[in-house]
Amino acid sequence: MRSHRFIMLLLAVLLLGAVAPMAVAQDTQTLTVSIWGFNLDVLEENVFAPFEEMHNVDIVLDTGNNSDRLARLLAEGENSTIDVVHFATQFTYLADQEGVLQPYDADKLENLDELYDWAQDPLGNLAGVGYTVNSLSLIYRSDLIEDEVTSWADLLRDDVAGYVCIPEMSTTFGPATLIMIDRALAMQELDEGEELGAINYDADAAWEALPQLADNLVTTYIRSSALTTLVQEEEVRLAPYASFAIGNLMNTGHDLTAVIPDEGAVGQTNMISITAATDKVDLAHAYIDWFISHDIQEAEALDLIDSPVNATVELPEDICALLTCGEMLDTMIVLDQAEVSARLEDWLERWNEVMVR
């Protein structure tokens, strides 16, 4: 009997403790940022904390992968509490198509002119500003795979069966992976001295090879972090990887070799956009301007987080080698998002049909 009373008392105390903090009202303004849940500790130190102090604002994060966050943004529409979003180009494009973004005002972005031309307005309709660039190429366990990996088509090789992992079709690099495999298969068909033509966005050859590729897979990945984990746990030996994951991949301590395949790497810009639902337009612009400023771009690059798009940033050789910068910016393949997006719905369905088996 006495113990019951004691529990009741305990519960009462717990309740008070739990409810009390909720009653404390919050005065400071907030800016809700939708972003990947990757490297948040570094971003906090480099970007968020100083920005919060400068503008007397609390940054609230909504984290998740591109599609997760886009889905929520679309579902919430006008009611969304999100003010700015970080998306890969493809998802900025989709979001813009659905009308949940508002165009930025170039006059409010002092640092915009410092960016490479292609980063200032990647979609050509002011839907967002490119703030970092990354690329997709291949990485493999050079200690466990004997024959050198040189081509996107090596993902289909028998000796890597059961150890391959590729990005989901629904992710930024899903379509890119398939298109590059198609390009590799096309290259194999070429006669001596013949040149590879334009990108074939239908990727028929790759689709034909997909069931064979599926047999090689451990699984597909949606987040680069998942790939890192799988590599770390020795589940995966060969995979296409996004350049921003290189630091984490190398940290696994395994014998990994990153290669730019013969067919080339795929370049991709990440963008920041302002949502249509926000009423904090000025603060949102300030946030973007801060992110593309020389100091932030440099700090992020030196921490191997984001490859800079601010042309005024100059990086040491060794850092540049690990990022998407320098010469690579000129050689990488950039896909036409309109072409990719037009096929995406159909591709997702076909992809699932192959992958589900």
Binding site: E233, E349, R357
Partner: protein, 277 residues
């Protein structure tokens, strides 16, 4: 129950507040979900969502796979629980209380933590593979993660208590006399178990099977972690349709199929229980 006339007003006062909350925030969303499943993006009312669901190879495979794994998990749970539940039910009360609280423990722990353990156990460098390698049963580590085996193992551990608990409480109600009567009439232990204990505890079995099966076919965390992005079950398909493909119409169809499946299983097994009584 005390019979009292003129109580309607009291009952309404007692039930109404919570009833309204459940109605508005639970029943209404489900009705809205149902309507979503018959109103595609293009507008109008149609059942094509359901037709598509059962015609598309993707969802059909996922649906059948989900049911298959649910059956396997239920079967394993029955086999593992039956003899053990019998031992538990025949134990002295104090020891049983302690052991039963250990059975409850997994139920009370969050599914993420529990499923996480299987990643460590089943990984290429995990416990199972290390053992197999050192026993030289295999040369290369075997892939378990992202396989149906992994999901089955994870789900079994998750839902085993839901089979053990009803079985034990059903078997507790079998008097010792009945078992002794069977033995005295010439039945051996196995016969007694199969012909007396099993039929007399069938209520618990049916209840347990309902809980385990419906739990397995609707669980999310385990297939999400152990099945990965590729090996989809209904729950992970729902999540994929909802947040990755953002096709709310298709997601609603998946959701409704999940509800109907659960309800059908519940009804079916409830009928089974009634018939036995």
């Amino acid at each position: 129950m005390i019979r009292r006339p003129n109580q309607t007003r009291t009952i309404i006062l007692l039930v109404a507040p919570a009833f309204v909350v459940v109605l508005v925030f639970f029943v209404l969303p489900l009705i809205f979900l149902l309507s979503q499943s018959v109103t595609p993006k293009e507008g109008g009312y149609t059942l094509t969502g359901y037709v598509d669901f059962f015609q598309s190879p993707v969802s059909r495979i996922v649906y059948l796979r989900t049911l298959k794994l649910g059956l396997i998990v239920t079967g394993i749970c029955v086999l593992m629980s039956y003899p053990a539940a019998f031992v538990l039910a025949r134990m002295p009360a104090r020891r049983r209380t302690f052991l039963m609280s250990l059975v409850i423990l997994p139920l009370m722990t969050n599914a993420v933590a529990r499923t996480f353990a299987w990643l460590i156990i089943l990984g290429r460098r995990g416990m199972v593979n290390q053992t197999l390698l050192s026993l030289e049963v295999v040369e290369e580590p075997v892939r378990f993660i992202f396989t149906e085996t992994a999901i089955v193992l994870g789900l079994t551990q998750l839902f085993l208590p839901l089979m053990v608990l009803p079985l034990v409480s059903a078997m507790e109600n079998i008097p010792d006399d009945v078992l002794e009567a069977a033995r005295s009439l010439g039945a051996n232990r196995l016969t007694t178990f199969l012909r007396i204990v099993v039929p007399m505890s069938s209520d618990g079995l049916v209840l347990g099977a309902t809980l385990v099966f419906t739990g397995s076919v609707t669980a999310f965390v385990t297939p999400a972690i152990l099945g990965g992005a590729r090996l989809l079950l209904m729950s992970t398909l729902l999540r994929q349709e909802a947040v990755i493909v953002f096709d709310q119409h298709a997601a609603a169809v998946v959701a409704v199929v999940m509800i109907l499946t659960t309800l059908a299983v519940n009804l079916l097994l409830r009928l089974l229980r009634v018939r036995q009584v």
